[in-house]
């Protein structure tokens, strides 16, 4: 019997599949190629609609211009600081709570789990959160950015599932040897959990690195902005000018140039680490999907 993999129909399908998937790759990568081309192009070529795959009038003047803006670096540094601080806080809280939730004998565990899971179904919403952060006096401080989203329930459940899968014998032996709960968590459980911790750190770090809306809501001082807000303001400025129809050619061309470079400089760190960390993300998602 001839296996169906060899039939002509299947070969035709493989051909079509190859074409479709090549199309997917092109569509996914094209915006990046275009932005690279734009970032190195002279503005008159961009305005003329002549920049597509390769830079026209190659130059790095725009890069020099953006890099020479002290505000850009201030905001970039803020992004780094917010990401580090927020990730540290998030990891501390998530690890502690996940460990508690992973103890099946614990009385009140069900309630503790539902305290977290319920917030996935129903959230207070934008306005009450805004009012709360204002009332707490956190506005225009780093805390308004790093505290309100400190625990992601998804990450919490991933970690809890992982902790539940750890062998109990080691913990028990350590407890018999006289380690208290904190000691067991710190010396026994965490060293066994390096893989999941790496994944969680990455999940949190990327989400904080990319976040902009919390900062947009709670920060008014430009010196405190993360770089995402810097970029957002460039984009908003550009659309504002276009929408008003004022000085269209001149204003939006300069902005397009600078926008392209700013996008490049913001996206570069992500692209640089992406190939190395991608598999951790995939494994993290799998871990979280154990239930589903």
């Amino acid at each position: 019997m001839v296996t169906l993999d060899r039939t002509r129909g299947y070969r035709v399908f493989q051909g079509i599949n190859a074409v479709i998937l090549t199309g997917v790759v092109i569509v996914t990568l094209y915006p990046f190629v275009n932005i690279v081309a734009r970032s190195f192009s002279e503005e008159r070529y961009i305005v003329g609609g002549q920049v597509n795959l390769v830079p026209r009038g190659f130059n790095i003047e725009t890069y020099k211009l953006v890099v020479s803006d002290p505000m850009f670096w201030t905001n970039y540094r803020n992004t780094v600081v917010y990401t580090v601080v927020a990730t540290a806080i998030a990891m501390f809280l998530t690890t502690c709570y996940a460990y508690v939730l992973s103890k099946k004998h614990l009385r009140g565990r069900t309630v503790l789990i539902w305290v977290a899971v319920f917030t996935m179904i129903f959230s207070g919403g934008l306005i009450p959160n805004y009012v709360l952060v204002n009332s707490l006096g956190l506005t225009d401080t780093i805390w308004s950015v790093v505290l309100p989203n400190a625990i992601s329930v998804f990450n919490l459940l991933v970690m809890k599932t992982f902790f539940e899968g750890l062998p109990r014998d080691l913990e028990e032996a350590a407890a018999i040897d006289g380690l208290n709960t904190y000691g067991v968590l710190w010396r026994i459980v965490l060293p066994l959990s390096k893989a999941v911790i790496a994944t969680m750190v990455l999940f949190y770090a990327v989400s904080f690195w990319n976040s902009w809306f919390t900062a947009f809501l709670y920060l008014n001082d430009g010196d405190l902005f993360p770089v995402t807000i810097y970029l957002r303001n460039l984009i908003a400025g550009a659309t504002g000018a276009e929408a008003a129809g004022a000085g269209l050619a001149e204003a939006s061309a300069a902005a397009a140039n600078i926008q392209a470079v700013t996008i490049m400089l913001t996206v570069l760190p992500i692209l640089a680490v992406y190939p190395f960390v991608q598999r951790y993300f995939v494994s993290g998602v799998m871990l979280g999907a154990v239930k589903g």
Binding site: L29, C96, V100, G125, V131, Y182, N210
Partner: protein, 339 residues
Amino acid sequence: MRGQEPFDDTGPTSVLVQKAEPAFPDPVGKTLPNKRDARPGSWRRALGRDWQLYTLAVLPLAFFVIFRYVPMLGNIIAFRKYEPGGSLFGETWVGLRYVKMFLADPSFWNVFTNTLVLGTLTLLFCFPLPIVLALLLNEVRNSKVKRFLQSVSYLPHFLSVVIVAGLVMQLVSIDGPVNQLVKALGGEPTAFIQKPEWFRTIFVSSEVWQTVGWGTILYLAALTTIDEQLYEAARMDGAGRWRQIWHVTLPGIRPTAVTLLILNIGTFMTIGFEKVLLLYNPLTYPTADVITTFLYRMGVESSNLSYAAAIGLFEALVGVVLIVSANLISRRAVGTSLW
């Protein structure tokens, strides 16, 4: 079989409680407290044994209470007048004044319609396309090529929505590639980002671009768990490729698909509002403005916080109704549910 495992003797009294523990994993904590635990005095016993564990829960609980549950209660300002600088929970009862106000506001019904349309379109494209892409990727035999394809298609997921919005703006700008194509085909360049009739296309395309690749992960994982013998049996019965996909592959990934559908429906109401906020402008409000962006402008920009809270509460309640009913329907219909 799990009953054979050693008990978790963290203290001298734990054996009693341990024995009463259910013998199956309990991922979201559906287990009801058992009778032994309900005995008076067992809380004191639990505290005595596990107080260190409970202390670990204190800070996380404080987080949930302050940043999740207080805002939930803070929704009370939908029915109480909030004064800037005043109490978190408002000053005086006004009953349903703000609810009546937004129900009578034509702008509200406009953004309500826009939310439904954008949400439906997004769901229509962003839910099935990952399944299709996963099936196509699954047919790639060369593992290096497959890994490359996966890496590329996951990439957009890692970008900030601000960057995605920036890329979109450049692509559809008057001098961008889309208009270059339009010109090459003999058309007139259009400022797409200012045209209400183009907003939905732009939004949904960018959403597809960013989410479809990453969305394949769980399906690809589910595909690898399908028993090869099922395909073998189907072939024996004379099933061609299409029939194998229909009768073996699709049923195999159904639980994953249903779970993801419920999750998608759960975020239906708030979907992509950050991107809307970045991409829209007053010219495109007629199609682009959604509930969350509207209440953002009402509340944060115009300081009508009580009015905006009333709309937000409505939005959240619709979201809960959607996810709970989706969960219920799927449990009844296909036996898969989130809880």
